[in-house]
Symmetry: C2
Subunit: 194 residues, 2 copies
């Protein structure tokens, strides 16, 4: 998505080997117009696939997921994160390890909001090591829901997330921006597939 | 806002003395169309007041805040919550006590995203005891920003939040739904002011 790539080039900050800070428009300060454009793009990429629900993880996934849900005209559910591992008959749960923070969180979705009849689109802001995406997949699998695909805002394709998700059986992963490398503090995008 | 009141009556669940669960459309599962209608209503209520930024707290405030920002065509910043009290030269911080969870969190906004030239609209999903709203006000005050007002999705007007916020100097608090009481498990709305 050219508009997103241009914004990353203009306002993203490369820190160290593999960190891209986009807190000026994506995950701390948010540009609502860009979010809406991204939601519309997700709806275009996943059109006609019978999606009944969008699921994501708090907090950074919420804005793009809500805009995707708006464009697709379906409800959005955001999984709650918790440090404590509370087992509950009322919720689907999964463990998610964060390489950035080096901590593990439980994510959970109330069973009332995900069912075997759902066709879900997974949305997240980043795909790097793939842990959050695998956690969302685990929640959908636990509900017996059908996963239509995954929509990612920014993929770091030099990290193993896509491969891990694909090996776990997740197909149709669509990323709005794919970063092939950071070179001299600059972002190099992967060539578009089509 | 009649559409919101109808949704609360249809899908809200009253638990105990003073808890209203709206996790089927507001703070776990989200109805994006309703969020957009609420964002448009906030934009109408605060039109022509020179707002430059919307600020809220993760996670439940993000969806209504982003829709308000979309309608007002201004950036949105969500304050991050943290259990640990990290002092930083880079962020404005405030402490927020949650009566529901009986714990205290620090909320923080990076100094790059809030300044003395900003005219900010505070947005939150609930106004009950007012602690989150006072925390947002403290962040804006620390930045020297001008607070235009506060937009609340659901106010429990039988709790002291509005009075606490007013006494702290916050004016122009607009709530889309004001709950006067819970009676026999039913929601009773406050009469509209005009």
């Amino acid at each position: 998505m050219k508009e997103l790539e241009a914004r990353i080039q203009a306002d993203g900050r490369v820190l160290g080997e593999d960190i891209l800070k986009v807190d000026s428009f994506l995950n701390h300060q948010i540009d609502p117009q860009l979010m809406q454009a991204m939601g519309n793009e997700f709806a275009r990429l996943f059109a006609g696939q019978g999606i009944t629900k969008v699921i994501t993880v708090e907090a950074s996934g919420i804005a793009p997921a809500v805009m995707a849900g708006l464009a697709l005209n379906v409800p959005v559910v955001f999984a709650r994160k918790s440090k404590s591992r509370i087992l509950s008959d009322d919720a689907y749960t999964a463990d998610v390890y964060s390489y950035t923070k080096q901590t593990s969180n439980q994510i959970r979705i109330d069973k009332r909001f995900l069912s075997a009849t759902d066709h879900v689109l997974l949305i997240d802001d980043f795909l790097a090591n793939g842990q959050a995406l695998l956690g969302l997949k685990a929640l959908a699998d636990a509900a017996g829901a059908t996963i239509v695909g995954a929509g990612i805002v920014i993929e770091k394709s030099f990290q193993p997330g896509r491969q891990a998700a694909t090996e776990a059986g997740l197909s149709n992963i669509q990323s709005l921006a794919r970063i092939a490398a950071f070179e001299n503090g600059q972002v190099v995008f992967a060539a578009e597939e089509k």
